[in-house]
Symmetry: C2
Subunit: 302 residues, 2 copies
Protein backbone atom coordinates (compact mmCIF):
# COMPACT_ATOMS: atom_id res chain seq x y z
CA UNK A 1 0.00 0.00 0.00
CA UNK A 2 1.26 3.42 -0.91
CA UNK A 3 1.12 5.74 2.11
CA UNK A 4 0.60 9.43 1.52
CA UNK A 5 -1.11 12.36 3.16
CA UNK A 6 -4.33 11.69 1.33
CA UNK A 7 -4.58 8.12 2.63
CA UNK A 8 -3.88 9.20 6.17
CA UNK A 9 -6.50 11.91 5.90
CA UNK A 10 -9.08 9.46 4.58
CA UNK A 11 -8.25 7.09 7.44
CA UNK A 12 -8.76 9.91 9.92
CA UNK A 13 -12.09 10.74 8.34
CA UNK A 14 -13.33 7.18 8.68
CA UNK A 15 -13.44 6.14 5.02
CA UNK A 16 -14.23 2.43 5.31
CA UNK A 17 -12.35 1.34 2.23
CA UNK A 18 -9.20 3.08 3.46
CA UNK A 19 -9.62 1.59 6.93
CA UNK A 20 -9.99 -1.88 5.42
CA UNK A 21 -6.90 -1.41 3.24
CA UNK A 22 -4.83 -0.10 6.15
CA UNK A 23 -5.81 -3.03 8.36
CA UNK A 24 -5.00 -5.55 5.64
CA UNK A 25 -1.67 -3.80 5.17
CA UNK A 26 -0.59 -4.10 8.81
CA UNK A 27 -2.26 -7.48 9.33
CA UNK A 28 -0.18 -9.05 6.59
CA UNK A 29 2.90 -6.81 6.88
CA UNK A 30 2.48 -5.63 3.33
CA UNK A 31 4.66 -2.95 1.83
CA UNK A 32 4.24 0.38 3.58
CA UNK A 33 2.95 -1.07 6.86
CA UNK A 34 5.75 0.32 8.96
CA UNK A 35 5.54 3.70 7.25
CA UNK A 36 1.81 3.74 7.94
CA UNK A 37 2.22 2.91 11.62
CA UNK A 38 4.92 5.51 12.05
CA UNK A 39 2.74 8.16 10.40
CA UNK A 40 -0.43 7.83 12.44
CA UNK A 41 -1.40 9.15 15.85
CA UNK A 42 -3.89 7.51 18.17
CA UNK A 43 -6.95 9.54 19.05
CA UNK A 44 -6.79 9.79 22.86
CA UNK A 45 -10.58 10.05 23.12
CA UNK A 46 -11.29 6.68 21.53
CA UNK A 47 -12.45 4.19 24.16
CA UNK A 48 -11.17 0.69 23.51
CA UNK A 49 -13.37 -1.98 25.06
CA UNK A 50 -12.56 -5.67 25.31
CA UNK A 51 -15.36 -8.16 25.70
CA UNK A 52 -14.51 -11.71 26.67
CA UNK A 53 -16.27 -14.72 28.17
CA UNK A 54 -17.04 -18.38 27.59
CA UNK A 55 -18.88 -19.49 24.46
CA UNK A 56 -22.61 -19.17 24.94
CA UNK A 57 -22.37 -16.31 27.41
CA UNK A 58 -24.00 -14.00 24.89
CA UNK A 59 -21.07 -11.80 23.91
CA UNK A 60 -22.24 -11.25 20.35
CA UNK A 61 -25.76 -10.36 21.46
CA UNK A 62 -24.26 -7.93 23.93
CA UNK A 63 -22.10 -6.31 21.24
CA UNK A 64 -25.21 -6.03 19.13
CA UNK A 65 -27.09 -4.28 21.95
CA UNK A 66 -24.18 -1.89 22.53
CA UNK A 67 -24.15 -1.05 18.82
CA UNK A 68 -27.86 -0.32 18.92
CA UNK A 69 -27.48 2.02 21.89
CA UNK A 70 -24.35 3.76 20.62
CA UNK A 71 -25.53 4.28 17.05
CA UNK A 72 -28.73 5.80 18.46
CA UNK A 73 -26.44 8.37 20.14
CA UNK A 74 -24.77 8.94 16.79
CA UNK A 75 -21.50 7.45 17.99
CA UNK A 76 -18.97 5.87 15.66
CA UNK A 77 -17.93 2.33 16.49
CA UNK A 78 -15.45 -0.21 15.18
CA UNK A 79 -15.85 -3.87 16.10
CA UNK A 80 -13.02 -6.40 15.90
CA UNK A 81 -14.20 -9.94 16.26
CA UNK A 82 -11.35 -12.31 17.01
CA UNK A 83 -11.84 -15.96 16.22
CA UNK A 84 -9.25 -17.90 18.17
CA UNK A 85 -7.49 -20.81 16.55
CA UNK A 86 -6.60 -23.94 18.34
CA UNK A 87 -3.00 -24.07 19.53
CA UNK A 88 -2.24 -27.34 17.81
CA UNK A 89 -4.29 -27.80 14.69
CA UNK A 90 -4.26 -24.17 13.55
CA UNK A 91 -7.94 -24.42 12.66
CA UNK A 92 -10.80 -22.32 13.94
CA UNK A 93 -11.64 -23.41 17.44
CA UNK A 94 -15.18 -22.34 17.92
CA UNK A 95 -16.57 -20.71 14.85
CA UNK A 96 -18.32 -18.33 17.24
CA UNK A 97 -18.64 -15.67 14.61
CA UNK A 98 -20.25 -12.39 15.30
CA UNK A 99 -23.97 -12.23 14.74
CA UNK A 100 -24.82 -8.66 14.10
CA UNK A 101 -25.67 -8.44 10.47
CA UNK A 102 -28.13 -5.62 11.08
CA UNK A 103 -25.20 -3.26 11.66
CA UNK A 104 -22.95 -4.46 8.87
CA UNK A 105 -24.22 -1.73 6.61
CA UNK A 106 -24.66 1.02 9.18
CA UNK A 107 -22.62 4.08 8.09
CA UNK A 108 -21.20 4.68 11.57
CA UNK A 109 -20.19 1.08 12.23
CA UNK A 110 -17.11 -0.72 10.94
CA UNK A 111 -16.96 -4.47 11.56
CA UNK A 112 -13.99 -6.72 10.93
CA UNK A 113 -13.42 -10.35 11.75
CA UNK A 114 -9.85 -11.50 12.27
CA UNK A 115 -8.63 -15.01 12.83
CA UNK A 116 -6.06 -15.50 15.53
CA UNK A 117 -2.85 -17.09 14.29
CA UNK A 118 0.41 -18.30 15.63
CA UNK A 119 1.40 -21.16 17.77
CA UNK A 120 -0.22 -20.70 21.12
CA UNK A 121 -3.68 -19.29 20.70
CA UNK A 122 -3.23 -15.57 21.31
CA UNK A 123 -5.43 -12.88 19.81
CA UNK A 124 -3.49 -12.13 16.64
CA UNK A 125 0.20 -11.28 16.28
CA UNK A 126 -0.74 -7.90 14.81
CA UNK A 127 -3.66 -7.05 17.07
CA UNK A 128 -1.94 -4.00 18.57
CA UNK A 129 -1.20 -2.64 15.12
CA UNK A 130 -4.76 -3.23 13.91
CA UNK A 131 -6.15 -1.43 16.96
CA UNK A 132 -3.68 1.42 16.38
CA UNK A 133 -5.02 1.84 12.84
CA UNK A 134 -8.56 2.03 14.22
CA UNK A 135 -7.46 4.47 16.93
CA UNK A 136 -6.04 6.73 14.24
CA UNK A 137 -9.43 6.84 12.56
CA UNK A 138 -12.52 8.67 13.81
CA UNK A 139 -14.14 6.14 16.14
CA UNK A 140 -15.59 6.94 19.52
CA UNK A 141 -15.50 3.27 20.50
CA UNK A 142 -13.47 0.26 19.46
CA UNK A 143 -14.95 -3.02 20.64
CA UNK A 144 -12.79 -6.15 20.60
CA UNK A 145 -14.76 -9.34 21.06
CA UNK A 146 -13.05 -12.62 21.81
CA UNK A 147 -13.82 -15.97 23.34
CA UNK A 148 -11.84 -16.47 26.51
CA UNK A 149 -9.34 -19.03 25.34
CA UNK A 150 -5.80 -19.50 26.52
CA UNK A 151 -3.85 -16.31 26.54
CA UNK A 152 -6.34 -14.30 24.50
CA UNK A 153 -8.21 -12.94 27.48
CA UNK A 154 -5.04 -11.93 29.27
CA UNK A 155 -3.86 -10.21 26.10
CA UNK A 156 -7.11 -8.35 25.73
CA UNK A 157 -6.58 -6.77 29.14
CA UNK A 158 -3.30 -5.38 27.82
CA UNK A 159 -4.95 -3.78 24.81
CA UNK A 160 -8.35 -2.57 25.96
CA UNK A 161 -8.91 0.44 28.19
CA UNK A 162 -11.81 -1.43 29.72
CA UNK A 163 -12.19 -5.21 29.83
CA UNK A 164 -15.68 -6.62 30.23
CA UNK A 165 -16.02 -10.23 31.30
CA UNK A 166 -19.40 -11.69 30.41
CA UNK A 167 -20.67 -14.53 32.57
CA UNK A 168 -23.96 -16.34 32.83
CA UNK A 169 -25.57 -17.03 36.20
CA UNK A 170 -25.19 -20.54 37.50
CA UNK A 171 -25.74 -21.61 41.09
CA UNK A 172 -24.52 -19.05 43.62
CA UNK A 173 -21.66 -21.27 44.67
CA UNK A 174 -20.29 -21.07 41.17
CA UNK A 175 -18.70 -17.73 41.90
CA UNK A 176 -15.88 -19.61 43.59
CA UNK A 177 -15.15 -21.65 40.52
CA UNK A 178 -15.03 -18.60 38.25
CA UNK A 179 -12.02 -19.12 36.12
CA UNK A 180 -8.96 -18.05 38.03
CA UNK A 181 -7.48 -14.84 36.77
CA UNK A 182 -10.82 -13.41 35.74
CA UNK A 183 -10.90 -11.13 38.78
CA UNK A 184 -7.53 -9.85 37.64
CA UNK A 185 -8.51 -8.86 34.14
CA UNK A 186 -12.15 -7.80 34.58
CA UNK A 187 -12.83 -4.09 34.88
CA UNK A 188 -16.55 -4.75 34.62
CA UNK A 189 -18.55 -7.93 35.12
CA UNK A 190 -21.65 -8.43 33.04
CA UNK A 191 -24.02 -11.10 34.25
CA UNK A 192 -25.97 -11.73 31.09
CA UNK A 193 -29.16 -13.78 30.80
CA UNK A 194 -30.04 -12.25 34.16
CA UNK A 195 -33.62 -13.51 33.93
CA UNK A 196 -32.44 -16.98 34.85
CA UNK A 197 -33.75 -18.09 38.25
CA UNK A 198 -30.30 -18.34 39.85
CA UNK A 199 -29.25 -14.87 38.73
CA UNK A 200 -29.85 -12.91 41.93
CA UNK A 201 -27.83 -15.09 44.24
CA UNK A 202 -25.05 -15.30 41.65
CA UNK A 203 -24.92 -11.52 41.28
CA UNK A 204 -24.96 -11.09 45.04
CA UNK A 205 -22.03 -13.46 45.57
CA UNK A 206 -20.08 -11.96 42.71
CA UNK A 207 -20.63 -8.48 44.14
CA UNK A 208 -19.34 -9.57 47.54
CA UNK A 209 -16.23 -11.00 45.90
CA UNK A 210 -15.79 -7.92 43.78
CA UNK A 211 -16.21 -5.63 46.79
CA UNK A 212 -13.54 -7.55 48.70
CA UNK A 213 -11.10 -6.94 45.85
CA UNK A 214 -11.82 -3.24 45.39
CA UNK A 215 -8.95 -0.80 45.48
CA UNK A 216 -8.80 2.96 46.05
CA UNK A 217 -9.87 3.90 42.57
CA UNK A 218 -12.09 1.11 41.28
CA UNK A 219 -14.49 -1.56 42.45
CA UNK A 220 -15.50 -3.93 39.65
CA UNK A 221 -19.19 -3.28 39.06
CA UNK A 222 -21.42 -6.29 38.51
CA UNK A 223 -24.04 -5.41 35.94
CA UNK A 224 -27.11 -7.46 35.14
CA UNK A 225 -28.13 -7.54 31.50
CA UNK A 226 -30.55 -9.39 29.29
CA UNK A 227 -28.85 -8.45 26.06
CA UNK A 228 -31.45 -10.12 23.87
CA UNK A 229 -34.11 -7.87 25.43
CA UNK A 230 -31.85 -4.83 25.52
CA UNK A 231 -32.00 -4.64 29.32
CA UNK A 232 -29.14 -3.19 31.36
CA UNK A 233 -27.29 -1.75 28.38
CA UNK A 234 -27.49 1.86 29.50
CA UNK A 235 -26.16 0.99 32.95
CA UNK A 236 -23.32 -0.87 31.26
CA UNK A 237 -22.43 2.11 29.09
CA UNK A 238 -22.34 4.39 32.13
CA UNK A 239 -19.96 1.95 33.85
CA UNK A 240 -17.75 1.93 30.74
CA UNK A 241 -17.59 5.71 30.73
CA UNK A 242 -16.78 5.85 34.45
CA UNK A 243 -14.00 3.36 33.98
CA UNK A 244 -12.58 5.17 30.97
CA UNK A 245 -12.44 8.31 33.10
CA UNK A 246 -10.52 6.51 35.86
CA UNK A 247 -8.01 4.80 33.60
CA UNK A 248 -7.23 7.85 31.51
CA UNK A 249 -5.87 9.32 34.75
CA UNK A 250 -3.82 6.24 35.57
CA UNK A 251 -0.38 7.22 34.29
CA UNK A 252 1.37 4.20 35.83
CA UNK A 253 -0.77 1.82 33.80
CA UNK A 254 -0.25 3.84 30.65
CA UNK A 255 3.53 3.74 31.10
CA UNK A 256 3.50 0.00 31.75
CA UNK A 257 1.35 -0.78 28.72
CA UNK A 258 3.32 1.48 26.40
CA UNK A 259 6.61 -0.05 27.50
CA UNK A 260 5.18 -3.54 26.98
CA UNK A 261 4.09 -2.56 23.51
CA UNK A 262 7.51 -1.24 22.56
CA UNK A 263 9.11 -4.42 23.94
CA UNK A 264 6.80 -6.51 21.80
CA UNK A 265 7.51 -4.53 18.63
CA UNK A 266 11.27 -4.75 19.15
CA UNK A 267 10.83 -8.51 19.53
CA UNK A 268 8.83 -8.74 16.32
CA UNK A 269 11.40 -6.67 14.47
CA UNK A 270 14.22 -8.89 15.65
CA UNK A 271 12.42 -12.07 14.64
CA UNK A 272 11.33 -10.77 11.26
CA UNK A 273 13.95 -12.69 9.33
CA UNK A 274 13.74 -15.94 11.21
CA UNK A 275 11.96 -18.43 9.01
CA UNK A 276 9.71 -20.75 11.02
CA UNK A 277 9.38 -23.16 8.11
CA UNK A 278 13.13 -23.53 7.84
CA UNK A 279 13.29 -24.46 11.51
CA UNK A 280 10.56 -27.05 11.04
CA UNK A 281 12.33 -28.48 8.01
CA UNK A 282 15.59 -28.77 9.90
CA UNK A 283 13.94 -30.43 12.88
CA UNK A 284 12.19 -32.86 10.56
CA UNK A 285 15.53 -33.89 9.15
CA UNK A 286 17.17 -34.43 12.52
CA UNK A 287 14.27 -35.69 14.61
CA UNK A 288 15.30 -39.34 14.45
CA UNK A 289 18.92 -38.80 15.31
CA UNK A 290 18.02 -38.34 19.01
CA UNK A 291 20.83 -35.83 19.20
CA UNK A 292 18.92 -32.58 18.87
CA UNK A 293 20.10 -30.01 21.35
CA UNK A 294 17.74 -27.09 20.83
CA UNK A 295 20.04 -24.66 22.65
CA UNK A 296 22.93 -25.38 20.31
CA UNK A 297 20.68 -25.08 17.26
CA UNK A 298 19.19 -21.79 18.45
CA UNK A 299 22.59 -20.31 19.15
CA UNK A 300 23.86 -21.18 15.69
CA UNK A 301 20.74 -19.97 13.89
CA UNK A 302 21.51 -16.86 11.95
Amino acid sequence: MHINEENIKKLQQGDSLTIAKCITCVENELEGNLQLLQSITANPNTACIGITGAPGAGKSTLVNALLKQLTAQNKKIAVLSVDPSSPFNFGALLGDRIRMSEFYLHPNVYIRSIASRGALGGLHPKIFEIVDVLKASYFDYIIIETVGVGQSEVEIAGIADTTIVVVVPEGGDEVQTLKAGVMEIADIFVVNKADRPSADIFVKNLSILSHSKANDTWEIPVIKTIASKFEGIETLLTAIQNHKHITSNNVERKIFLTAEKIWRIIQQNKMKNIDRQKIVAMVKEKINSNAINVYQIAENWS
Copy 2:
Protein backbone atom coordinates in the same frame (compact mmCIF):
# COMPACT_ATOMS: atom_id res chain seq x y z
CA MET B 1 27.92 -22.25 38.32
CA HIS B 2 30.96 -24.09 37.06
CA ILE B 3 29.92 -26.84 34.64
CA ASN B 4 32.10 -29.90 34.43
CA GLU B 5 31.72 -33.61 33.86
CA GLU B 6 31.33 -34.27 37.54
CA ASN B 7 28.37 -31.90 37.85
CA ILE B 8 26.67 -33.38 34.84
CA LYS B 9 27.19 -36.88 36.20
CA LYS B 10 25.75 -35.91 39.58
CA LEU B 11 22.74 -34.36 37.83
CA GLN B 12 22.22 -37.58 35.88
CA GLN B 13 22.41 -39.58 39.10
CA GLY B 14 19.73 -37.46 40.74
CA ASP B 15 21.80 -35.69 43.38
CA SER B 16 19.27 -33.19 44.77
CA LEU B 17 21.73 -30.49 45.63
CA THR B 18 23.12 -30.55 42.09
CA ILE B 19 19.61 -30.54 40.61
CA ALA B 20 18.70 -27.54 42.75
CA LYS B 21 21.86 -25.69 41.73
CA CYS B 22 21.31 -26.43 38.04
CA ILE B 23 17.71 -25.21 38.17
CA THR B 24 18.70 -22.03 39.97
CA CYS B 25 21.40 -21.53 37.35
CA VAL B 26 19.04 -21.72 34.36
CA GLU B 27 16.14 -20.03 36.18
CA ASN B 28 18.20 -16.92 36.78
CA GLU B 29 20.48 -17.16 33.75
CA LEU B 30 23.54 -17.37 35.95
CA GLU B 31 27.00 -17.95 34.56
CA GLY B 32 27.31 -21.30 32.87
CA ASN B 33 23.59 -21.74 32.17
CA LEU B 34 24.00 -21.96 28.41
CA GLN B 35 26.95 -24.31 28.73
CA LEU B 36 24.88 -26.49 31.04
CA LEU B 37 21.92 -26.62 28.65
CA GLN B 38 24.15 -27.39 25.70
CA SER B 39 25.84 -30.22 27.60
CA ILE B 40 22.83 -32.20 28.75
CA THR B 41 20.60 -34.72 26.97
CA ALA B 42 16.99 -35.36 27.79
CA ASN B 43 16.12 -38.85 28.93
CA PRO B 44 13.55 -40.03 26.36
CA ASN B 45 11.87 -42.29 28.91
CA THR B 46 10.93 -39.55 31.34
CA ALA B 47 7.19 -38.87 31.22
CA CYS B 48 6.35 -35.21 31.64
CA ILE B 49 2.85 -34.68 33.01
CA GLY B 50 1.07 -31.35 33.23
CA ILE B 51 -1.75 -30.95 35.74
CA THR B 52 -3.98 -27.90 35.47
CA GLY B 53 -7.42 -26.83 36.63
CA ALA B 54 -9.27 -24.16 38.56
CA PRO B 55 -8.35 -23.40 42.16
CA GLY B 56 -10.14 -25.74 44.51
CA ALA B 57 -10.31 -28.59 42.02
CA GLY B 58 -7.94 -30.62 44.16
CA LYS B 59 -4.80 -30.56 42.02
CA SER B 60 -2.40 -30.66 44.95
CA THR B 61 -4.24 -33.54 46.61
CA LEU B 62 -4.12 -35.36 43.30
CA VAL B 63 -0.38 -34.79 42.96
CA ASN B 64 -0.01 -36.07 46.49
CA ALA B 65 -1.93 -39.24 45.63
CA LEU B 66 0.16 -39.78 42.48
CA LEU B 67 3.32 -39.41 44.55
CA LYS B 68 2.07 -41.99 47.01
CA GLN B 69 1.30 -44.48 44.25
CA LEU B 70 4.49 -43.87 42.29
CA THR B 71 6.88 -43.94 45.24
CA ALA B 72 5.30 -47.25 46.29
CA GLN B 73 6.41 -48.55 42.88
CA ASN B 74 9.88 -47.21 43.60
CA LYS B 75 9.60 -44.60 40.83
CA LYS B 76 11.54 -41.35 40.87
CA ILE B 77 9.48 -38.19 40.53
CA ALA B 78 10.14 -34.47 40.21
CA VAL B 79 7.34 -31.99 40.92
CA LEU B 80 7.35 -28.42 39.66
CA SER B 81 4.69 -26.30 41.25
CA VAL B 82 4.10 -23.10 39.33
CA ASP B 83 2.52 -20.21 41.16
CA PRO B 84 1.18 -17.82 38.55
CA SER B 85 1.55 -14.11 39.08
CA SER B 86 -1.03 -11.59 38.15
CA PRO B 87 -0.40 -9.88 34.81
CA PHE B 88 -0.53 -6.39 36.24
CA ASN B 89 0.58 -6.30 39.82
CA PHE B 90 3.33 -8.90 39.51
CA GLY B 91 2.28 -10.39 42.83
CA ALA B 92 1.21 -13.92 43.58
CA LEU B 93 -2.29 -14.46 42.31
CA LEU B 94 -3.58 -17.35 44.28
CA GLY B 95 -1.07 -18.51 46.80
CA ASP B 96 -2.26 -22.01 45.91
CA ARG B 97 0.94 -23.61 47.05
CA ILE B 98 1.50 -27.28 46.93
CA ARG B 99 0.40 -29.22 49.97
CA MET B 100 2.43 -32.37 50.05
CA SER B 101 4.81 -32.00 52.90
CA GLU B 102 4.85 -35.72 53.54
CA PHE B 103 6.92 -36.21 50.39
CA TYR B 104 9.30 -33.29 50.80
CA LEU B 105 11.87 -35.54 52.43
CA HIS B 106 11.27 -38.68 50.40
CA PRO B 107 14.57 -39.75 48.76
CA ASN B 108 12.93 -40.45 45.36
CA VAL B 109 10.97 -37.20 45.18
CA TYR B 110 12.26 -33.79 44.21
CA ILE B 111 9.85 -30.87 44.73
CA ARG B 112 10.39 -27.33 43.55
CA SER B 113 8.10 -24.33 43.61
CA ILE B 114 8.64 -21.65 40.98
CA ALA B 115 6.87 -18.34 40.67
CA SER B 116 5.74 -17.32 37.24
CA ARG B 117 7.15 -14.01 36.10
CA GLY B 118 6.97 -11.67 33.18
CA ALA B 119 4.31 -9.45 31.81
CA LEU B 120 1.40 -11.60 30.85
CA GLY B 121 0.98 -14.40 33.32
CA GLY B 122 2.66 -17.35 31.60
CA LEU B 123 4.24 -20.26 33.37
CA HIS B 124 7.79 -18.98 33.75
CA PRO B 125 10.08 -17.61 31.05
CA LYS B 126 12.56 -20.41 31.74
CA ILE B 127 10.11 -23.27 32.24
CA PHE B 128 11.39 -25.21 29.22
CA GLU B 129 14.95 -24.96 30.47
CA ILE B 130 14.00 -26.03 33.97
CA VAL B 131 12.15 -29.05 32.61
CA ASP B 132 15.14 -29.87 30.40
CA VAL B 133 17.37 -29.94 33.47
CA LEU B 134 14.97 -32.35 35.15
CA LYS B 135 14.76 -34.47 32.00
CA ALA B 136 18.54 -34.78 32.03
CA SER B 137 18.37 -36.20 35.53
CA TYR B 138 17.13 -39.66 36.54
CA PHE B 139 13.39 -39.14 36.95
CA ASP B 140 10.71 -41.48 35.67
CA TYR B 141 8.09 -38.75 35.98
CA ILE B 142 8.10 -34.97 35.95
CA ILE B 143 4.86 -33.47 37.19
CA ILE B 144 4.14 -29.79 36.48
CA GLU B 145 1.26 -28.42 38.49
CA THR B 146 -0.28 -25.06 37.66
CA VAL B 147 -3.51 -23.22 38.18
CA GLY B 148 -5.26 -22.61 34.87
CA VAL B 149 -4.69 -18.91 34.46
CA GLY B 150 -4.29 -16.99 31.26
CA GLN B 151 -1.79 -18.54 28.96
CA SER B 152 -0.30 -20.90 31.53
CA GLU B 153 -2.55 -23.80 30.65
CA VAL B 154 -1.96 -23.43 26.94
CA GLU B 155 1.77 -23.31 27.60
CA ILE B 156 1.64 -26.41 29.72
CA ALA B 157 0.21 -28.34 26.78
CA GLY B 158 3.31 -27.35 24.81
CA ILE B 159 5.66 -28.69 27.48
CA ALA B 160 4.01 -31.77 28.91
CA ASP B 161 3.75 -35.10 27.11
CA THR B 162 0.40 -35.56 28.80
CA THR B 163 -1.85 -32.77 30.04
CA ILE B 164 -4.38 -33.60 32.72
CA VAL B 165 -7.24 -31.17 33.28
CA VAL B 166 -8.80 -31.55 36.70
CA VAL B 167 -12.43 -30.53 37.06
CA VAL B 168 -14.98 -30.91 39.82
CA PRO B 169 -18.49 -32.12 39.09
CA GLU B 170 -21.13 -29.44 38.92
CA GLY B 171 -24.55 -29.89 37.41
CA GLY B 172 -24.51 -31.99 34.25
CA ASP B 173 -25.25 -28.96 32.11
CA GLU B 174 -22.00 -27.43 33.21
CA VAL B 175 -20.10 -29.46 30.68
CA GLN B 176 -21.13 -26.93 28.08
CA THR B 177 -19.65 -24.06 30.02
CA LEU B 178 -16.32 -25.81 30.49
CA LYS B 179 -13.75 -23.23 29.75
CA ALA B 180 -13.27 -22.98 26.02
CA GLY B 181 -10.00 -24.43 24.86
CA VAL B 182 -9.93 -27.06 27.55
CA MET B 183 -11.01 -29.76 25.10
CA GLU B 184 -8.05 -28.71 23.00
CA ILE B 185 -5.37 -29.07 25.63
CA ALA B 186 -6.68 -31.96 27.74
CA ASP B 187 -5.22 -35.39 27.04
CA ILE B 188 -6.97 -36.77 30.11
CA PHE B 189 -9.88 -35.39 32.13
CA VAL B 190 -9.94 -36.08 35.83
CA VAL B 191 -13.26 -35.50 37.55
CA ASN B 192 -12.10 -35.18 41.12
CA LYS B 193 -14.35 -35.14 44.19
CA ALA B 194 -16.36 -37.76 42.35
CA ASP B 195 -18.38 -38.58 45.45
CA ARG B 196 -20.40 -35.42 44.95
CA PRO B 197 -24.02 -36.17 44.09
CA SER B 198 -23.85 -34.58 40.62
CA ALA B 199 -20.73 -36.51 39.62
CA ASP B 200 -22.30 -39.27 37.54
CA ILE B 201 -24.29 -37.08 35.20
CA PHE B 202 -21.33 -34.73 34.84
CA VAL B 203 -18.97 -37.58 33.95
CA LYS B 204 -21.52 -38.99 31.53
CA ASN B 205 -21.93 -35.67 29.68
CA LEU B 206 -18.21 -35.05 29.63
CA SER B 207 -17.65 -38.54 28.19
CA ILE B 208 -20.17 -37.91 25.42
CA LEU B 209 -18.41 -34.66 24.54
CA SER B 210 -15.01 -36.32 24.70
CA HIS B 211 -16.19 -39.20 22.53
CA SER B 212 -17.47 -36.77 19.91
CA LYS B 213 -14.04 -35.17 19.72
CA ALA B 214 -12.05 -38.38 19.53
CA ASN B 215 -9.58 -38.88 16.70
CA ASP B 216 -7.94 -41.96 15.23
CA THR B 217 -5.34 -42.32 17.91
CA TRP B 218 -6.83 -40.94 21.09
CA GLU B 219 -10.12 -40.38 22.85
CA ILE B 220 -9.76 -38.24 25.99
CA PRO B 221 -10.57 -40.55 28.88
CA VAL B 222 -12.71 -39.17 31.68
CA ILE B 223 -11.49 -40.57 34.97
CA LYS B 224 -13.30 -40.33 38.29
CA THR B 225 -11.10 -39.79 41.32
CA ILE B 226 -11.48 -38.98 44.98
CA ALA B 227 -7.89 -37.95 45.46
CA SER B 228 -8.29 -37.40 49.22
CA LYS B 229 -9.37 -41.04 49.58
CA PHE B 230 -6.86 -42.31 47.04
CA GLU B 231 -9.60 -43.59 44.73
CA GLY B 232 -9.11 -43.79 40.96
CA ILE B 233 -5.37 -43.14 41.08
CA GLU B 234 -4.35 -46.45 39.57
CA THR B 235 -6.77 -45.99 36.67
CA LEU B 236 -5.33 -42.54 36.12
CA LEU B 237 -1.76 -43.87 36.03
CA THR B 238 -2.75 -46.46 33.46
CA ALA B 239 -4.28 -43.73 31.29
CA ILE B 240 -1.09 -41.67 31.60
CA GLN B 241 1.00 -44.63 30.47
CA ASN B 242 -1.30 -45.33 27.53
CA HIS B 243 -1.09 -41.73 26.45
CA LYS B 244 2.67 -41.61 26.81
CA HIS B 245 2.84 -44.63 24.53
CA ILE B 246 0.67 -42.93 21.89
CA THR B 247 2.50 -39.60 21.92
CA SER B 248 5.99 -41.05 21.81
CA ASN B 249 4.96 -42.41 18.41
CA ASN B 250 3.57 -39.06 17.25
CA VAL B 251 6.47 -37.68 15.24
CA GLU B 252 4.48 -34.74 13.84
CA ARG B 253 3.79 -33.42 17.33
CA LYS B 254 7.40 -33.91 18.34
CA ILE B 255 8.62 -31.94 15.33
CA PHE B 256 6.16 -29.13 15.96
CA LEU B 257 7.04 -28.82 19.64
CA THR B 258 10.78 -28.96 19.01
CA ALA B 259 10.56 -26.27 16.33
CA GLU B 260 8.49 -24.08 18.65
CA LYS B 261 11.09 -24.51 21.34
CA ILE B 262 13.94 -23.50 19.05
CA TRP B 263 11.94 -20.48 17.90
CA ARG B 264 11.40 -19.43 21.49
CA ILE B 265 15.08 -19.80 22.41
CA ILE B 266 16.17 -17.77 19.37
CA GLN B 267 13.74 -15.08 20.48
CA GLN B 268 15.10 -15.08 24.00
CA ASN B 269 18.66 -14.88 22.71
CA LYS B 270 17.83 -11.93 20.52
CA MET B 271 16.11 -10.03 23.33
CA LYS B 272 18.83 -10.75 25.87
CA ASN B 273 20.36 -7.30 25.66
CA ILE B 274 17.17 -5.29 25.54
CA ASP B 275 16.72 -3.61 28.89
CA ARG B 276 13.07 -3.49 29.93
CA GLN B 277 13.79 -0.94 32.64
CA LYS B 278 15.38 1.43 30.15
CA ILE B 279 12.27 1.26 27.99
CA VAL B 280 10.07 2.01 30.99
CA ALA B 281 12.30 4.95 31.99
CA MET B 282 12.14 6.39 28.50
CA VAL B 283 8.36 6.03 28.29
CA LYS B 284 8.04 7.68 31.70
CA GLU B 285 9.97 10.66 30.42
CA LYS B 286 7.91 11.05 27.26
CA ILE B 287 4.45 9.97 28.42
CA ASN B 288 3.10 13.49 28.77
CA SER B 289 4.31 14.73 25.44
CA ASN B 290 1.46 12.91 23.64
CA ALA B 291 3.85 12.31 20.79
CA ILE B 292 4.97 8.77 21.51
CA ASN B 293 5.02 6.66 18.41
CA VAL B 294 5.92 3.19 19.65
CA TYR B 295 6.87 1.96 16.18
CA GLN B 296 9.44 4.71 15.72
CA ILE B 297 10.87 4.10 19.17
CA ALA B 298 11.08 0.34 18.61
CA GLU B 299 12.83 0.77 15.29
CA ASN B 300 15.45 3.08 16.76
CA TRP B 301 16.08 0.94 19.81
CA SER B 302 19.45 -0.68 19.61
